[in-house]
């Protein structure tokens, strides 16, 4: 290990005073420690701080392409995003089947998506179509988590659509259309 040579200049001969011969070696341990600490710091921060981008394709709002490709009601699962971090879901057309309230998270939404996509696949032989309808009282976070769950469960067909008045009524009935923050 490099260190400062602090041994004396030896005996003086002949009474002549000579300047001490100093070693040019310096203790580098502390400096190297610091350098590696900083390296570690920069490695950690650069790899972790990179934000991720979720790609999203919205349905075309162009008038000409409107109402193309009808999807069978039995294949469509509609998610109504309400307030209080809760959502309602139903299959098919609104009002025909009673909607159910569930939460986000692995036990609620993910389980539902996995089960229903299997169900629909077994019944109709085609992939499920998920319609996401965020209400005005839902949070941006809710929309992102729904899209994330859809990605996790490998559902390729989904769309974000504006909510309609009867569906807001459904949310109101379950008390999921309130303003609390």
């Amino acid at each position: 290990m490099a260190e400062l040579d602090t041994s004396g200049g030896g005996k003086h001969k002949g009474g002549k005073v000579r300047s001490k011969k100093q070693s040019t070696r310096i203790d580098l341990t502390a400096m190297v420690d610091l350098a590696f600490l900083l390296i570690t710091f920069f490695i950690m921060t650069t790899t972790l701080a990179k934000p991720k981008a979720m790609d999203l394709a919205m349905p075309d709002k162009d008038e000409k392409t409107k109402d193309q490709l009808p999807v069978a009601a039995s294949r469509s699962l509609t998610l109504l995003l309400g307030s209080n971090d809760k959502l309602e879901w139903y299959i098919g057309e609104p009002g025909k089947s009673a909607p159910e309230v569930i939460g986000y998270g692995p036990d609620g939404l993910r389980k539902l998506l996995v089960e229903k996509s299997k169900d629909v696949m077994a019944k109709t032989g085609k992939a499920i179509f998920v319609v996401v309808k965020p209400s005005d009282k839902s949070k941006y976070k809710n929309m992102v988590s729904v899209l994330d769950e859809i990605n996790i469960t490998n559902i390729t067909m989904y769309g974000i659509v504006d909510i309609t008045a009867p569906e807001i009524e459904l949310l109101k009935r379950e008390n999921l259309y309130s303003d609390n923050k």
């Binding site: 290990m1 490099a2 580098l28 341990t29 400096m31 190297v32 350098a35 590696f36 900083l38 390296i39 920069f42 490695i43 921060t45 650069t46 701080a49 990179k50 934000p51 991720k52 981008a53 979720m54 790609d55 999203l56 394709a57 919205m58 349905p59 075309d60 709002k61 162009d62 995003l81 692995p106 965020p134 209400s135 005005d136 009282k137 839902s138 949070k139 941006y140 976070k141 809710n142 929309m143 992102v144 988590s145 899209l147 994330d148 990605n151 996790i152 504006d162 923050k181």
Partner: protein, 190 residues
């Protein structure tokens, strides 16, 4: 020892030079978490930051910023001096109406941080956010010859209508594909 020291400092220099300084958002943004692992691109990229009911706009690349400000200024009959253009090209993200841009650019960077930015107007009368996005896309197409990618960076507590507003503005220019910026969730189970 000397060799190790050399290597250590070489690596240190490399990491310092490649590290991008963390950009300060004009408003505190808590990015929602997801399991997505796709990193955001480094160039030809614009971010619309949404938080506290305000919209901010940021473009990557100094040449694009300059070009965009000139073009948007032309729409709203504002001319900018070379100094103002230079200063604007160093701003990561901003949220002031075009009428206040001169005043905003005259502030020092410390003052700009303190300045309460009102957000870019989103109403259809002035159409400012719409024009910023369109001009940024035009500038990217003409200078770099590629399509610009747009990302929305929203606060997780943001109400959906504001996001819907921004998405509506994007869709008005037939831009149906864009990205949502998220961060990696710690306990994501796959």
């Amino acid at each position: 020892m000397t060799a190790m020291c050399d290597v250590a400092f070489l690596l240190l220099t490399f990491f310092i030079l490649t590290a991008k300084p963390r950009t300060d958002d004009p408003v505190p943004i808590d990015v929602p978490r997801s399991s997505i692992q796709v990193p955001v691109p480094d160039e030809n990229f614009a971010t619309i930051t949404v938080g506290h009911n305000k919209a901010f706009f940021g473009i990557e690349g100094t040449d694009l910023r300059r070009e965009t400000l000139e073009q948007v200024g032309a729409i709203y009959k504002q001319t900018f001096t070379p100094e103002e253009l230079k200063k604007f090209s160093g701003i990561e993200s901003f949220g002031v109406p075009i009428a206040n841009m001169h005043q905003f650019l005259s502030l020092s960077s410390e003052q700009q941080r303190q300045y309460a930015q009102p957000g870019i107007p989103r109403d259809s009368v002035s159409n400012e956010l719409f024009n910023w996005i369109r001009e940024a896309r035009k500038a990217t197409a003409s200078l770099h010859n590629v399509q610009m990618r747009i990302a929305i960076k929203g606060d997780s507590k943001e109400e959906y209508p504001v996001i819907k507003d921004v998405v509506g503005i994007l869709q008005k220019q037939k831009l149906n594909k864009f990205s949502l910026i998220t961060s990696v969730s710690g306990g994501a189970k796959k």
